[in-house]
Amino acid sequence: MSNTAVKPRIEKIPLKEKLFQKLPVFLVPVLALTGLAAIGNPSSWLTLTVAGLAMGMMIFIMASGLTVVFGLMDVINFGHGAFVAVGAFVGFTVLAWLAGWTASPSVMLNLAAVLIAILAAMLITGLLGLAFERVIVMPVYGEHLKQILVTMGGLIVAQQMIYVVWGPDELHISRPQALQGSFVIGEAAIEKYRLVAVAIGLALFLAMRHILKKTKIGLLVRAGVENGEMVEALGYRIRRLFLIVFMTGSALAGLGGVMWGLYQETITAHMGSEIMVLVFIVVIIGGLGSVEGCFIGAMLVGLLANYTAFLAPKVALISTIALMVVILMWRPQGLYPVVKAK
């Protein structure tokens, strides 16, 4: 047979699709510029923008796992916040053990302590994710109502277990020396820690993109999002893929928990369910299941929350809800709706 029998119709669609793909990307600079106009003072704006991006990156770290898990497994884990809190508590415990390192003037020791705390938190939350997936989520695949209920139940139990293990009081810890203080650029003060958060978030986003686009496991995840049955029919054990992704998502929540904890320097057992509100808003804005959408949504929410906290502090959280409403009126499934075969 010849090629001409099958007309290529490659040219037309991508143009329209490209625009569809690119449009949301411009929202971030548009919001940043609107913020500049509203705030007026460039140095306050710079401080707020960095703070907003840092907050956005941390939310992204926590939300990315949730959204990928949803895309692949069609499960929204309402207990995801528990991993955030557990991660923070484990991280703080490790940092407390390493108090000698964090108080030391050596930058290397400081960073080593934080790194160990992060790894410990990710390990524990990853294992917790394993237990959660096997015990709580696995029996209710495909049943949304039950999923919401049992994962909520899991959240209650996990929060209570934090009380049992760490006691009812909130924990305080100071950031290590190297992560305290700010750089001053002109009149704007930029906290070092925020830059670190932005760097980690960006690195994670790029790594996730790379994994999803270039590795076989990433391809499997994307294929599984669209048609899990076909992935199985090709010979892959999708349950194992689910477990890996769920554990990774949980570990990322743990990472986010440590970072958020170090940002606030105070953690409570309820921090997870509080931050979950922002995480949900971000996931909804981005389109359930989309990593790119989640990233853009997180930055939008981070920036908006910081701008409004400066301009009209009382409506900070409401403003993010308003943002969600506006985005959903524009694209009812979020910025990047995820294609599902069924």
Partner: protein, 353 residues
Amino acid sequence: MLTRLLSGDTPRSGLLTALLLIVLISLAFAPFLFPGTRSLETAARICIFIVLVASYDLLLGYAGIVSFAHTMFFGIGAYGTALALSTTGPGYGSLIWGTAAGAVVAAVFALAIGLFSLRVKAIFFAMVTLAVASAFAVFVSQMSWLTGGEDGLNYKIPRELTPAFKLIDEKILGVRINGKLLAYYLVFFVSAILFLVMLRIVNSPFGRTLKAVRDNAFRAEAIGYRVVWYRTTATILSAVMAALAGSLLAIWLRYTGPATTLSMEIMIDILLMVVIGGMGTLYGAVLGATLFILAQTYLQTLMGVAADASSAVPLFSTLVAPERWLLWLGVLFILSVYFFPSGIVGRLRAGRA
């Protein structure tokens, strides 16, 4: 006659009937059977929560929709009444218009959220309501010039409903017949009426269609039912009922604050009560709310004893500490969802000979 009052939806189990009768009689004669302020507080709380939980079941059990905004509607009702009483004085007029305003605002909110997010997916609705309700709670506590912020509002209610008002001088069965007693019976009868109304709703053609939509939205749509319309209407009805329950609470407590109406903890409590009592049966709400609140009030004391007794075993004593009772409820909740999703009522009905 009785069957008609129950809209033909009888308990259909001897044990269940007996339990419900015990609850009914206990609540109806609570001031005389269990004298004392604490037990009267508990009884009124049970009445109000039966309405609140039943209205949530309307949504979760009958429409198959998970909402996390139920306390928001509860709070809107409570704040409506509270604001009316504190701004326009403790008259019946302000009580009524405040309650009505609360119900209307709740309905409008429910309509907006329903139209907005019920088209998509159950999960979507759950996430949106969680976000909106949390933001609302924060918003209310920040509008302190209006709502009293975290401290909430204290206000006067009509004098006839306060302990200061004496209906007759002598005691009956050792109980003082005062305004507090009247307030209790106001709560009791309004709750009973609201419950019967909800029973009527779920047994009407509307209620049956709702269940059909829950079981197979796709098919219901194909037959020609407008699924979004049914779901949104259910959301509105449920919100209005929750708001009315909130108004009752506002009248009873003479105080309204974020912690008693809007908090996520209450939302979780409602979820636990519905699921443990039995989803999709309003009687489950009665049993769930009663057991839960009794446990909340009295079981914690018992656990305190257990914790003291086992203080020699460190981890165990922390696990049974009264503050940790939610841990066990959470475990019970998960087990209920897996193994008996129809809750206590479902068990009782299945077990009938």
